[in-house]
């Protein structure tokens, strides 16, 4: 199933992002960032459905939650997207 991954430098901002998205009605699943896209080592990511990308981006930006990058995940394939 396709979805978007928002990457974060560490777990706390990812958790704050999860809380912000939950309050905005966006389902976000916290997970470890896949090694292939982890910047400088371990990190955490939030996965949201393709339909909720725009809502998620605006909510995170409005609340100044510092995500790093966004990737489209198709199966095991990850492709960076610009939002």
């Amino acid at each position: 199933m396709n979805g978007y991954l928002f990457t974060f430098r560490s777990i706390t901002p990812a958790q704050r992002g999860e809380a912000v998205l939950r309050r905005r009605g966006v389902d976000a699943a916290l997970r470890r960032t896949p090694r292939s896209i982890a910047d400088k080592g371990c990190g955490y990511a939030l996965r949201v459905s393709t339909l909720q990308l725009n809502r998620a981006v605006s909510a995170l930006r409005e609340q100044n939650v510092p995500f790093q990058r966004v990737y489209l995940q198709t199966g095991e394939q990850l492709e960076e997207v610009w939002v």
Binding site: T12, Q15, R16, A19, K40, G41, C42, P66
Partner: protein, 369 residues
């Protein structure tokens, strides 16, 4: 009859029942935060984040600005080392604990002591302003004196520091949990507090609220930026090297939930009333009591008898108090009790009116014996 616990200034020995239950649960259900993606690691991560979020809500900070420490002293050491350099002149109130003074002396800083009159806001504010005008590099002050329960005018003190653009640290060891604490409104660079006193968590926990640039005291793994040699730049990772005390934080979370349900300021008012009853009763028994308008739920007293011997007698009769210098020789020096020390009675959320009355009865018996 059970023990009458009046040593909440040292630690809140009596906790909400949920604190112990949460710690038991965490021991069998939580692994390490930020080190894995399995259920037990997620359990730990959820508890730790919930605690950060609630602390942020209670103390006006973002969750990332809530750093877990092992106690208040740990947080103060981080804060002082972040703001102060060797040789710096640093303004400190006349009621500071060794948790502030020793790190300053160890760094080779030069303390500029202001405001040595107990319960006197005007003196505290005037003397602070003089210190700020003299060109100090930073200020560190306690919210509440751990010895005398003097509640300092922290909000106005913060405003003065901001006016003179002097960064400042608040030691909220005795205020958090019974007085208002606001990182944002105070405009403080750092606010340090223990988890095991007014926040009702277990020993081994503490919180440092950080608004300023912080320097790590410990270096090591954070579960993030693992390829980098340096500690991460962002909070809280920058200050949280090594495995967190998840079991303790689970207990602390329940302590904070209790505070949210009951209101820190409500708890503080009740403690203050009980301390006032104690003060009046002690004065009637002719003890030397240190009391004043701006006082918390803590009261100190002196007398002709050696303070340690008096505390020992009280202990033997079922009243737990603390005597001596309370790790705050500067505060005793300010109040003129450095040679004698005092006996400190510090109330807490679980202190009852009956506890206070019974303590006065016991003090009365000691007085006549």
């Amino acid at each position: 009859m059970g023990m009458i616990y009046l040593d909440n200034g040292a630690t809140s020995f009596q906790k909400p029942r949920e604190v112990e239950m949460a710690m038991h649960w965490a021991l069998s259900h939580c692994a390490s935060v930020g080190r894995g993606g399995y259920r037990q690691a997620e359990n730990a991560a959820k508890i730790v984040y919930a605690c950060r979020e609630l602390a942020g809500e209670l103390f006006d900070a973002l969750p990332e600005q809530v750093v877990f420490t092992m106690n208040c002293t740990h947080g103060l050491n981080i804060a002082i080392r972040s703001l102060v350099r060797p040789g710096d002149r640093v303004a400190v109130s006349g009621f500071e604990h060794n948790a502030v003074m020793r790190p300053l002396y160890a760094l080779g800083a030069r303390p500029v002591i202001f405001g040595r009159k107990l319960f006197d806001w005007e003196n505290t504010l005037q003397e602070l302003e003089k210190a700020l005008q003299s060109g100090v590099k930073a200020a560190v002050f306690t919210q509440v004196s751990n010895v005398f329960g003097y509640v300092l005018p922290v909000e106005q003190m913060g405003a003065l520091c901001r006016r003179y653009r002097v960064p400042f640290i608040v030691d909220a060891a005795q205020g958090a949990g019974s007085c208002r604490v606001s990182l944002k409104e105070w405009g403080a660079d750092f606010v340090a507090m223990p988890g095991h006193k007014g926040l009702l968590g277990p020993q081994g926990t503490g919180i440092l609220l950080c608004a300023g640039n912080a320097e790590p005291l410990l270096y090591g793994g954070t579960g993030s930026h693992s390829e980098e040699h340096a500690m991460p730049g962002e909070l809280p990772d920058r200050l949280e090297a090594g495995t967190l005390n998840v079991t303790g934080i689970a207990g602390l979370l329940e302590g904070l939930r209790y505070l949210k349900r009951n209101g820190a300021e409500n708890i503080g008012s009740r403690e203050k009333e009980l301390a006032a009853v104690l003060s009046r009763g002690m004065a009637q028994l002719d003890y030397q009591v240190f009391s004043g308008e701006h006082q918390s739920g803590t009261v100190s007293m002196g007398g002709n008898e050696d303070c340690e011997l008096l505390a020992e007698r009280l202990g033997a009769m079922g009243v737990a108090v603390r005597a001596g210098l309370h790790c705050a020789p500067l505060a005793h020096d300010s109040a003129g009790t450095l040679k004698t020390g005092t006996v400190r009675f510090s109330t807490g959320p679980f202190t009852t009116r009956r506890d206070v009355e019974r303590t006065l009865e016991i003090l009365g018996k000691i007085r006549v014996s």
